[in-house]
Amino acid sequence: MRYLIGHGHVSALILVKSGWALSGGLMVMLAIFGEQVFHLGGQGGGSGILYSMRGIGAAIGPILAWRLLGESDREMYRSIGLGPGLFCDLPLLSGLQSSPDFGLGSSVRYAGSLRRFGSVGFQHYSAAKGGGRTATGAGFSPLKWPC
């Protein structure tokens, strides 16, 4: 605690990651949307597609972030704030969609996940600036830029 109080940027990194968990309930909503909201015919298939799209988003997100934002510390720092903004509008649109049709649009929204967009910046920055303590404290292995 004393370390965190003395190092504002480290505590900010830890708090922003915990802040993302505020919307952890969205994980539950993937199953609910797959089962109850978007009708795909069979049971359970919808949530499988949504989770798969989430995985695709996690794979594509870091590459897009790298291509679009670059890899300097300054850009990484900014990308952390951009991640929630991008992630938020995708489930938001799904929530506002009135049609029960599953469709490509619905899945792509959850691919949303471009969610890793900000996470990559977080992991890179915490590993570079926060040292091992941030990475360990936040529960991340200090992953480096993927490319």
Partner: protein, 53 residues
């Protein structure tokens, strides 16, 4: 990690409770998505201040 897990569990519990209470899943999703903006907004303000220095 402890804080992350704690916040995550509270969020998931409240989501489940809201579903049991009969809230529409779409409404819950919209609320969660809007809540998700909070940490991003706070971080953006923090980052702007820090990068200005």
């Amino acid at each position: 990690m402890a804080l992350l897990t704690l916040v995550l569990s509270i969020s998931i519990y409240l989501t489940g409770a809201a579903l049991n209470y009969g809230w529409d899943p779409r409404d819950i999703t919209v609320v969660l998505a809007l809540i998700f903006l909070l940490p991003g907004a706070v971080w953006t303000i923090h980052a702007k201040r820090r990068l200005r220095r």
